[in-house]
Amino acid sequence: MRTERLSYDDGSDTAVCEYCGRPFPDDDLLALHRGTRHFEQLPDDQQAAYEAAYADEQESVRLFRLKALGGLILVYFGFLMVYAVV
């Protein structure tokens, strides 16, 4: 919804979507964009590129989740201790 009204920097032509003309900073993000917005229209190689980029990203998303959970636990016990002391 929001994507319809976004404005983009001039002269950003590193990786432009051939279906909607939106620019992206690199090919991975372009592949992810194509897959999320135009999946049905994509030829096989672009679908494959999307799936590869998605799988690539999955690894870092999983890592982030671990860190987030770790952070939550840290905050929880940190405050538990602080409140016990104060």
Binding site: R2, T3, F24, V61, F64
Partner: protein, 462 residues
């Protein structure tokens, strides 16, 4: 005295305990009552939690909510939650008749308020006009706009009046955007802080008459719709709060929707729209700030007359809040490397702040509203000769928990809306999460600023 603490001031200490309790409910699950229970009594010595810890806890609650939200990375799930809605009433006739009844009510209330405020007893707690405006309307009715839905377009008596008046329909200068409403909002808060509009019924009546004159003149020149969409601060405030609410109206349909989902289409979200959102968040803060000792020492040190210092501080703080948000958008652009312009990022992320503003409003006013409601009801039975004794209700202890939850839910909602925004804009999941870091940092800054003010001992504004 009671009426002059209409705003955050007299509920301040209560809120400190609320926020200390946020940690308990939201982050720690430690019983909140250990700290919160002691707060009803007078004197700030009873606040068991030191200020730095209150600030830290509030900030951490925001951060922790973000970490929780960031665990949800399923694009279709996020979109489905955001776009969910269920039609309830689907009848133009019912809505039109409902609106007519409500607008009639609005006119009657305005007439009564004006009459009683100028002719009735002048003690604040005995005046139905004053109580209606501050307790019934600014506390109670405002709550209904974000808890239920925005009914102001129907209730707004000035809109009703303007529709029967002619209109010259001059074209509204588009480049002004909602700047007039932003400036007017700041101006109204300035009047509220420096004038006796909160304690003196006849002064309140005067302010309402001036507002009426300006509003009707504006609608006469530019047309009803244009005026209330762009220049009238009150209609803007309720429109924005209404977008946080679970009920929404689209033409002839009233639907139940995901709270906060309507924030996505504050459209067309212009630069001035962003300024209005930030102004709304800032004015709640400013109102508390002027009764802190910090403000008093600024007044003592800065060699500027008071009459100039208030508007100066009002504008400076607004500029600071605005600059912080723009800074966050620039940082977000740098972190994500996106080709989307900073201006677009600012516009898309700003509306999420409204959920925080609504949460604070509820925490500030719920206790105040409940305690003065009996006074409003009593005075309403005999507006011109109210009983000498007016009962004030002491809010029960569990109200602190409700306020606590309000702050917490407001933050959750804001963070969720920002999360949905990020996943809508950015193709990468990690990119979408990272894009929020600076905005979360700014939310933490806003929160800690408000909490710091709430934790200050209260002194009369100079």
């Amino acid at each position: 005295m009671a009426a002059s603490c209409r705003w955050s001031r007299c509920t301040r200490r209560r809120v400190i305990s609320l926020v200390a309790g946020v940690a308990a409910v939201g982050v720690l699950a430690v019983p909140a009552l250990a700290h919160g229970g002691s707060l009803g009594s007078a004197g700030r010595e009873s606040v068991a939690v030191p200020t730095w810890l209150v600030l830290l806890t509030g900030g951490a609650a925001v951060g922790a909510s973000f970490l929780l939200a960031s665990l949800v990375t399923d694009r279709s799930l996020i979109a489905a939650v955001e776009s969910w809605s269920r039609g309830l009433i689907d009848s133009g006739a019912v809505l039109r008749w409902g609106a007519r009844v409500v607008s009639l009510l609005g006119l009657v209330v305005l007439a009564v308020v004006l009459f009683v405020a100028s002719m009735g007893p002048q003690q604040p707690l005995a005046n139905l006009g004053l109580l209606t405006v501050w307790v019934g309307w600014w506390a109670g009715y405002t709550m209904s706009t974000y808890l239920v839905g925005n009914t102001w377009p129907a209730l707004n008596p000035w809109r009703t009046l303007s529709r029967v008046l002619p209109s010259l329909s001059y074209s509204y200068p588009e480049r002004l955007g909602v700047w007039p409403a932003t400036v007017a909002l700041l101006a109204l808060v300035w009047v509220e802080v420096v004038s006796p509009v909160a304690d003196q019924p006849d002064f309140l009546a005067g302010v309402i008459i001036v507002y009426t004159a300006v509003t009707l003149l504006g609608t006469l020149v530019f047309g009803t719709q244009q005026w209330f969409d762009s220049a009238d601060p009150v209609a803007r405030v309720f429109d924005h709060y209404g977008r946080v609410a679970p009920f929404g109206r689209d033409r002839d349909t009233i639907s139940l929707q995901t709270p906060g989902s309507a924030l996505a289409d504050i459209a067309p979200a212009t630069r001035s729209e962003v300024a209005f959102v930030i102004a709304l968040l800032w004015v709640t803060t400013f109102d508390g700030f002027v009764s802190t000792p910090a403000w008093r020492s600024i007044v003592d040190v800065v060699p500027v007359p008071l009459s100039a210092l208030y508007p100066l501080a009002l504008v400076a703080g607004f500029g600071l809040f605005l600059a912080a948000f723009y800074g966050a958008a620039r940082a977000s652009k740098r972190i994500t490397g996106t080709c989307v312009t900073t201006a677009s990022l600012v516009r898309e992320f700003a509306p999420s702040l409204l959920a925080i503003a609504a949460g604070y409003h509820l925490a500030h006013y719920l206790g105040y509203f409940i305690s003065l409601l009996p006074a409003l009801a009593t005075v309403a039975t005999a507006p011109l000769a109210p009983p000498a004794e007016v009962t004030l209700l002491v809010a029960p202890d569990w109200f602190e928990t409700v306020g606590m939850l309000a702050i917490l839910v407001g933050h959750f909602l804001a963070i969720w809306v920002a999360h949905a925004t990020a996943f809508d804009i950015f193709p990468g999941r990690l990119q979408a999460i990272r894009s929020q870091y600076p905005f979360i940092a700014v939310m933490v800054f806003y929160t800690m600023t408000s909490l710091w003010i709430l934790a200050q001992p209260e002194v009369a504004a100079p």
